[in-house]
């Protein structure tokens, strides 16, 4: 196991569209100040943002944790929301259970989970109906597309 250089956790408030995405925005500032290369930085914050938005849209609350090591960033986004009954279906591009309000705000295109998969080197989702969902993502820090 590579040594942890940094670990931070932030609470995510469900249902609050005004501040939605704030944590990922903050994460971007922190990682940019640490000198993370631009391509990796974009991938990390896209994954964080999509996962954060899903917590805001579908769960009451959650936490985002990021762990920086020598060669990667690990993201862990945990919520105690309703869980995802059919994960394979949820990963299909275009599938969405978003409300009309969310769609008017520009969300609910069913591209969040596919975006997370595309931008991470390793993505795992654990979910249980009635209990909640946790997304684990690893993004390597060497330059790649």
């Amino acid at each position: 196991m590579p040594a942890e250089l940094m670990r931070e956790s932030y609470p995510i408030q469900g249902g609050d569209f005004d501040t939605a995405g704030e944590i990922s925005g903050e994460l971007k500032t922190i990682l940019r100040d640490l000198g993370i290369e631009a391509g990796s930085l974009r991938r990390i914050v896209v994954v964080a943002f999509e996962a954060e938005m899903n917590v805001v849209m579908y769960a009451r609350r959650g936490t985002l944790t990021f762990i920086l090591t020598d060669d990667a960033v690990d993201l862990e986004i945990r919520d105690d929301g309703p869980g995802i009954p059919d994960l394979e279906l949820a990963f299909q591009e275009g599938y969405s259970t978003a409300s009309d309000e969310m769609r008017e705000l520009g969300f609910g295109f069913g591209m969040g989970l596919p975006n997370m998969r595309k931008n991470s080197d390793d993505l795992r989702v654990e979910t249980e109906v009635g209990k909640g969902t946790t997304v684990f993502a690893r993004i390597r820090l060497d330059a790649h597309e």
Partner: protein, 114 residues
């Protein structure tokens, strides 16, 4: 094209300037879907959208686009402009509709991302 040239050709009003209007732009992402913008933006694309809420600016920051063009004369409220200033995201407003904006920029050699 530079951001300054895009501002002129689309007859934009500039609400926030960002850092550098001489920045060169080659690609465009145009959508009202935030995840769609995030799916296609690589870096420094121009973002065109009809959504003027705070989430549009948030998405622009996360995607790392070079500027946002709000179409159809839609104006974000003061709070959104303030936020864009803080994030250093340039905001242009034009009366042109999405279709015309895309056609004009396409004719100038800009391309979409796929």
């Amino acid at each position: 094209m530079t951001l300054g040239e895009i501002r002129d050709i689309l007859q934009c009003e500039v609400l926030t300037e960002g850092d550098d209007l001489s920045l060169d732009v080659q690609n465009v992402v145009a959508s009202d879907g935030m995840s769609e913008i995030l799916a296609f933006a690589r870096s420094k694309e121009l973002m065109i959208t009809g959504l003027t809420n705070i989430q549009a600016v948030r998405t622009a920051d996360i995607a790392g686009v070079s500027a946002i063009v709000f179409c159809r004369g839609k104006r974000p409220d003061a709070r959104v402009v303030e936020f864009a200033k803080k994030k250093r995201v340039p905001i242009f407003v034009t009366r042109l509709v999405m279709f015309d904006i895309c056609a004009i920029l396409y004719n100038k050699g800009l391309k979409g991302v796929s």
